[in-house]
């Protein structure tokens, strides 16, 4: 009974991979289909970060153009397009708010390194799966309030752990504990192994 989500995930990966292979051959229709699969998710991530509709749409456009232009470096046969796209989207949006907010240090967190296409291969799950998204949201809801807060500050606001400590007036050690514990809980709730 519990098998179907995994079958769906496998199918979602296959469709992603076929789309990325077509994009590598410069098929614009494939870009359209990729947008149909991930446009809403990418837009949601960007809106959560920049909180402005028009700017978010510009950044979604930049995200898909960047994927279109860098698709050659993506390992279409093994890659996870949705995770790669959301990483690009997140970085574009955080770059944007840093560029408009002089109070934020540029490059406090290391974003560009975490966008390399080769790091988005051999994923078990696809973000195109509604079941996967539901499970992630359920798992996130099980974190305690502080763990949710620091993960959101890191992911959606790009704050380093030191910046979080400053923002929340909490000791750095406490922030580090919340971040680690939040990631552990999320991983455990999603039934994933410790990275090794």
């Amino acid at each position: 009974m519990a098998l179907w989500p995994f079958l769906f995930a496998a199918g979602a990966h296959e469709e992603d991979r076929a789309l990325m292979a077509a994009i590598q051959k410069r098929d614009p229709q494939a870009l359209g289909r990729l947008y149909d699969r991930y446009g809403k998710l990418v837009f949601s991530v960007i809106v959560r970060i920049v909180r402005d509709q028009a700017t978010s749409e510009d950044l979604v456009q930049e995200t898909f153009l960047r994927a279109w232009n860098r698709a050659g470096a993506f390992e279409a046969g093994r890659g996870s397009a949705g995770a790669w796209l959301t990483a690009i989207a997140r970085h574009r949006a955080l770059d944007y708010i840093r560029s408009t907010d002089a109070r934020m240090a540029r490059g406090t967190t290391d974003l560009t390194a975490a966008e390399q296409p080769r790091l988005f291969v051999d994923f078990e799950h696809s973000l195109a799966s509604a079941e996967r998204v539901r499970r992630i949201r359920d798992a996130f809801a099980k974190l305690d309030e502080n763990e949710r807060m620091v993960l959101e500050l890191a992911y959606f606001e790009g704050l380093s752990q030191s910046e979080m400590a400053e923002r929340t007036k909490k000791p750095l050690g406490t922030i580090k504990t919340w971040v680690r514990r939040g990631l552990e809980t999320l991983r455990r709730e999603l039934g994933e192994a410790v990275p090794a």
Binding site: P28, Q61, R66, S80, A83, F123, E192
Partner: protein, 226 residues
């Protein structure tokens, strides 16, 4: 540091909050295709990527899909906008790397160029093809929006010189339409404003002193008859 020592920091690295020296050490391990750290960071990437799903769902406007396809060179009417899309992609790529105050300006310029190219009434002319002269490219004209120049094979200019764009009215003097510089021999220049197409004979580009001139002071390097 050893892979075992770095293992606990994979997820922090994926989240962008790893501290030194772990951040640099992981980057170094990834750079040398470390058999342990590459799969470890990939696994961490999958966990961190899942946070994207936490963002409250938002629906973009339907027109965004068409914009994205147009900027990738595919129009919903089924024809390709090459080479315009390549120049736009280049402009957007530039926008990705400019900093602070320039970012918003470049983004607005990119958006203006995309909207210009998408407008159905925009018309196109080519120049320089098959000629020994180096400069070649395309001009797009839109009565309500202005004139867009895409040029390549432009020569390098000394620091105290700039390219100046001119509108050429029928029977009148050239009208200044903005200054631009080339990058690696290529340039994209948008003159924004309404244009009387019935009165516009063509456009031209000349090399002028920095700051531009009220009228051309050198022989134009290109003249495009519309």
């Amino acid at each position: 540091m050893t892979c075992a020592e770095l293992r606990e920091s994979y997820e922090l690295y994926a989240l962008g909050v790893a501290e030194e020296p772990e951040r640099s050490e992981i980057a170094a391990h990834l750079a040398r295709d470390c058999d342990v750290c590459v799969p470890g960071v990939r696994k961490a990437m999958e966990a961190v990527s899942s946070l994207a799903a936490v963002a409250p769902s938002q629906q973009p406007r339907k027109s965004l899909r068409r914009r994205i396809l147009a900027s990738a060179g595919h129009d919903s009417r089924g024809w390709m906008l090459w080479p315009a899309w390549a120049a736009v992609c280049a402009a957007l790529a530039v926008a990705l790397f400019v900093v602070r105050g320039d970012l918003q300006r470049e983004r607005e310029r990119s958006r203006a160029v995309l909207e210009f190219l998408r407008a159905p009434e925009t018309r196109e002319a080519t120049f320089g093809e098959g000629k020994p002269e180096p400069a070649k490219g395309r001009v797009f004209v839109n009565a309500g929006r202005g004139v867009l120049l895409l040029a390549s094979n432009l020569g390098d200019l000394p620091a105290n010189r700039t390219y100046q764009f001119w509108l050429l009215p029928r029977g009148g003097k050239p009208v200044p339409a903005g200054l631009f510089r080339s990058t690696a021999g290529e340039a994209l220049h948008l003159y924004s404003g309404s244009v009387n197409l019935g009165d516009l004979a063509g456009v031209a580009v000349s090399v002028e002193p920095e700051g531009g001139s009220p009228q051309p002071t050198t022989t134009p390097i290109l003249v495009v008859t519309l």
